[in-house]
């Protein structure tokens, strides 16, 4: 077993390892394809984790990640490995596996020279993996194809080896076959990483330049920043500078994870490790930024830095209005660990005080919401997610609209909406259904390829708003769950969009307004009015529910007046019971929101807003 002997460990000591002995790699895999299990096995085989300290999916730290089996935040682990009598330091950089975090993935990839393309031998490649594979190819990474779960009875390694070979241009026999579960073939993977992944190259004498590929807030240590050193060297107690902002920090600790944080004498060319500076907010240590030495700073930042840009907005409101300060505190805390989360106070006539929040995408929204509910014990209503619209008025004034209730009144010249490049992988039998769905979502077909006889890649450009609405759920239901989806931003387009208001007894309910394509306005109005008709209890008067574009009513439902609200019998013993019932009803009334003169139960808002999209599939790839 080529674990590195103690005698040879000096040759790969941290801060004293020749770049030639370093291999930086990551793993591209679809959720559930066994990335974490394989990573666990590598930690064991290389001896960095004692078998008894092994915790399943060691690298996924947060509960939610563990529960959903997905990795949100990446980390890097340094593992020693010996090949042909030489010791190597392997840095495994864990990548987030979700579409909302494409930018983080791209930075993780940029920190590596090679990647494992890990595919479930029983399922084949998925859209998400394909998208990340393309990203890796763009970054000129060496790709090592690996088929996992070969121990499964349903595994078809021959079939999927063909598929992978076709995708990356290798021979099917080049695909490694492993079982993360049993450990079979894992040593060969480590050997192959050493043999095929190029070693990092950098100028050891140049001013230090290190790229931040992850940044994590830790309650006890403040922000822990993960970097890959490109040039020069970083050392403890020196002053570092963030090139994007020019902010300087004292380097309190520097080290590597193996996998527990281990302080070192520094980090040299090609090395991967962590920095602690005592800052308390990940915004001061942004993914993609370049770290340099403040005394001898580099002048040229490493390429690829981008400010995180929220793409999806939603209002978050506490169900109990008195939780508003608690929600604010919770968001302030989450922000420390989430550079992409933005929010500002919002007041809704229907929902009270809350926050308008911006997210990278739907999963990001779901994760934030779930953390707020689980870690901070808050009960929340979230409004229907919205994208960012650019509205130009006839007088050429421009508005950026992230909230339908702020849609400007008056003569509108043009509305632009974000569009995304969408990739769908589907079994070929569903191609027709998927194309129909994409078309109904205003998709424009860009291409189609057969990955194998029975699997097809479809490429569309599509409005992000359609994806955010219910595309993923519909895709899953039309393909019996077999299709997978990936998308990335592709600019914006002008579109015939209108704002649909929902009126209750003549009063607009801000929380239910939506910006939709004119052709979909009627369907939205009918759907929402129908839903509310079933959700809102009858009142003492007839309540019309209307959907309107401006002053034009496009759909209408009526909640008939309640005719009977009286208990039939009220004699001796009934009196106490009836009074107690009355008290209970009065409590219930406190949880009602008044929309004009209509009492709407909190639950009706929740049910109407948690439309078919958000809840159904939290864990999948979108």
């Amino acid at each position: 077993m080529p674990q590195v002997s103690d005698a040879m460990k000096d040759s790969i000591a941290v801060a004293a390892t020749a770049p030639e002995l370093i291999r930086n790699f990551c793993i591209i895999a679809h959720i559930d394809h066994g990335k974490s299990t394989l990573a666990d096995r590598m930690l064991q085989i290389t001896g960095v984790v004692e078998p008894r300290a092994m915790r399943a999916q060691y690298l996924d730290r947060m509960d939610i990640e563990r529960e959903r089996g997905i990795t949100i935040k990446s980390q890097a682990v340094r593992m020693p490995w010996e090949v042909d009598g030489r010791a190597y330091a392997l840095n495994m950089i864990d990548t987030p596996g979700h579409v909302d975090f494409t930018y983080e993935v791209s930075r993780s990839l940029a920190a590596c020279e090679g990647t494992l393309l890990l595919v479930d031998a029983a399922q084949g490649i998925e859209a998400q993996t394909l998208a990340n594979l393309y990203l890796a190819l763009e970054n000129d990474l060496t790709i090592i194809p690996v088929l996992n779960k070969i121990d499964l009875p349903a595994a078809q390694p021959e079939k999927y080896a063909e598929e992978l070979a076709g995708l990356i241009g290798c021979e099917p026999e080049d695909c490694l076959r492993v079982s993360g579960k049993t450990g079979e073939g894992v040593e060969a993977v480590l050997d192959r990483i050493v043999a095929e992944t190029p070693h990092p190259v950098g100028d050891a004498d140049a001013p230090a330049r290190a790229m931040i590929f992850d940044s994590v807030y830790d309650t006890y240590r403040g922000v822990v920043t993960y970097v890959r050193v490109v040039d020069g060297k970083l050392a403890p107690r020196e002053k570092i500078e963030m090139l994007s902002t020019g902010a300087t920090h004292e380097l309190l600790e520097i080290g590597v994870s193996s996998p527990e944080p281990t302080p070192s004498k520094g980090l040299g060319v090609g090395e991967v490790g962590y920095l602690i500076t005592g800052v308390k907010d990940v915004r001061q240590s942004r993914v993609g930024d370049t770290v340099t030495n403040a005394k001898k700073p580099a002048t040229q930042a490493l390429g690829g830095y981008r400010d995180p840009k929220p793409m999806v907005f939603s209002g978050l409101f506490p169900i109990d209005g008195s939780d508003y300060p608690a929600l604010r505190d919770a968001l302030d805390k989450l922000k420390l660990n989430d550079a992409a989360l933005v929010y500002e106070p919002e007041t809704s006539a229907a929902l009270g005080f809350g926050f308008r929040c911006g997210f990278l995408g739907l999963l990001h929204l779901e994760i934030v919401r779930e953390r707020l509910e689980r870690e901070f014990g808050l009960d929340l209503i979230s409004t229907a997610p919205s994208v960012v619209y650019q509205v130009t008025m006839e007088d050429r004034s421009e508005f950026e609209v992230t909230n339908p209730s702020e849609y400007p009144a008056g003569k509108i010249r043009e509305v632009r909406e974000p569009i995304v490049r969408t990739t769908v992988l589907t079994p070929s039998e569903y191609v027709g259904a998927v194309m129909e769905l994409c078309q109904s979502k205003r998709g424009q077909m860009k291409g189609m390829d057969y990955l194998s006889e029975d699997r097809v890649e479809l490429r569309y450009t599509m409005p992000l708003a359609e994806i955010v609405f219910d595309f993923f759920d519909q895709l899953k239901s039309k393909t019996k769950g077999y299709a997978s989806l990936d998308y990335e931003n592709d600019g914006e387009q002008a579109a015939d969009l209108v704002k649909v208001d929902i009126l209750l007894h003549g009063d607009p309910v801000d929380a239910f307004s939506a910006i939709v394509h004119r052709d979909k306005a009627y369907a939205y109005g009918v759907m929402m009015a129908g839903k509310l008709k079933d959700l809102i209890p009858r009142q003492q008067f007839e309540v019309p529910i209307q959907a309107a574009i401006g002053s034009r009513i496009i759909a209408r439902e009526t909640i008939r007046a309640m005719r009977k609200d009286v208990l039939s019998k009220c004699y001796g013993g009934d009196i106490s019971r009836k009074r107690k019932l009355l008290e209970k009803q009065k409590e219930g009334k406190k949880r009602m929101k008044m929309v004009g003169s209509v009492e709407v139960p909190q639950e009706a808002f929740i049910a109407a807003l948690s439309s078919d999209d958000a809840k159904a599939d939290k864990k999948g790839d979108r």
Partner: protein, 407 residues
């Protein structure tokens, strides 16, 4: 009977706080007697009733009268504490269960026991509920002679398939005959109806109304069927075997009933009660709605004395044993604070014909009352506001709004 309300444990001897009887002299006293026996248990019924003859040692039907007499002794003691003067009973009401499952002589005997202890007011109203099956001319004679003045008859419906759904066994064709016997015995007759039974059409209900009105009762009560959890009917509805009564259908049937009764000279005086005149209204039930004092005897019975509500052990055996040990059978009670009494007062007043006096309502009620008036739910009647037909059907809504003004 549904679960008893939550309350505090009363003293073992049943003693009341001094305030409860302090000014009792000015308030009439009513007595309620709960007879917890039935021949069969109806599928919709959630009252406290038992079909077995023997319910445990000392709790057979034969033990009922002596045990009740023991409770009467206790009531007399409790009410007379703190020097309150004795009060003759203004009304007595035998309910159940099926009181007429007891022989008429036993019912007469129980009434005699109560009269011996409390006395009856000269014009006392004495009612018993009765199942039409259990009435005979002879039995009615016995009751009338003992001082009973009213029979409240559980007719429920005149339509066989509706009666079958309700598990009622009586023959609807007997109703006119039984009503005649009651009248011949010189007593008033009230007919109880139930509407909204699953499967009952508007036509079925109209038929029941016709039959009920045709016998020219002095009084009718009409109740919408309430599907209670824990009953067989409740289970059938839960399992989807029977439909839940529809609120609009119930409202239609209520309006139909009110029109039919009015045409027959019966006028509403409480949401579910109609009578031919002021002297045929059920004074016992009016006492409940006017917040009077009453003592409830028997298993599970509720009492109200001067703002204290208390209730007996539900099971006949528990009730019997407590009394046998010289203890009060009451197992729970509530001492109402003034605010709660006020809420109850509004809750009850909104159900009766006299309605609400504006100046008796909490501050801010004026706007609400004006709103109810504009919406056609209340109409002024002198200084009072009485519920309209629509208002009666929405009485609970008005009560919620009005009592919402009290803290």
């Amino acid at each position: 009977m549904p679960a008893q309300p939550e309350g505090e444990a009363p003293p073992r001897d049943g003693a009341l706080p001094a305030g409860a009887t302090a000014d009792a002299a000015g308030r009439p006293l009513s007595l309620y007697v709960h007879v917890p026996y039935c021949r069969v248990r109806c599928g919709y019924c959630d009252f406290n009733t038992y079909t077995a003859e023997e319910l445990g040692p000392g709790a057979s039907r034969a033990d009922y009268r002596p045990t009740l007499a023991r409770e009467a002794d206790l009531a007399l003691r409790v009410l007379g504490a703190h020097g309150a003067p004795p009060r003759p009973a203004a009304t007595v009401f035998f309910g159940g269960g099926t009181p007429t499952l007891l022989p008429a002589e036993v019912l007469a005997g129980v009434l005699g026991d109560l009269r011996a202890r409390f006395g009856l007011a000269p014009d006392a109203e004495v009612t018993t509920e009765a199942n039409p099956d259990t009435l005979t001319p002879e039995g009615l004679e016995v009751l009338a002679a003992a001082g009973f003045t009213r029979i409240s008859m559980g007719m429920q419906s005149a339509v066989p398939h509706v009666l079958a759904t309700l598990d009622r066994t009586h023959d609807p064709a007997r109703i006119p005959q039984v009503v005649r016997w009651v009248k011949e015995a010189g007593m008033q007759v009230s007919v109880d109806l139930i509407y909204g039974t699953p499967g009952e059409s508007l036509e079925d209900w109209r038929r029941s109304l016709e039959v009920a009105c045709a016998v020219a009762p002095d009084h009718v009560s009409a109740y919408s069927l309430i599907v209670e959890p824990g009953t067989r009917l409740g289970a059938q509805v839960r399992r989807g075997q029977l439909p839940m009564p529809d609120e609009d259908d119930l409202a239609d049937k209520y309006e139909l009933a009110d029109a039919a009764f009015r045409a027959a000279g019966l006028h509403w005086y409480e949401v579910s009660n109609w009578a031919t005149g002021a002297d045929t209204r059920c004074r016992h039930n009016l006492a409940y709605w006017a917040d009077a004092d009453w003592w409830g005897f028997g298993p599970g019975a509720h009492s109200h004395i001067g703002g204290v509500r208390f209730w007996n052990a539900k099971h006949p055996l528990a009730w019997t044993q407590r009394l046998a040990e010289g203890l009060s059978p009451a197992v729970g009670r509530e001492v109402l604070d003034p605010q709660t009494r006020e809420i109850e007062r509004i809750m009850l007043a909104a159900r009766v014909r006299r309605g609400l006096a504006l100046d008796s309502l909490p501050p801010g009620a004026q706007d609400l009352v004006a709103g109810f008036g504009a919406a056609g739910l209340l109409e002024p009647d002198g200084p009072w506001f009485a519920p309209t037909l629509r208002g009666r059907l929405l009485a609970d809504y008005m009560v919620r709004e009005l009592t919402g003004l009290i803290a």
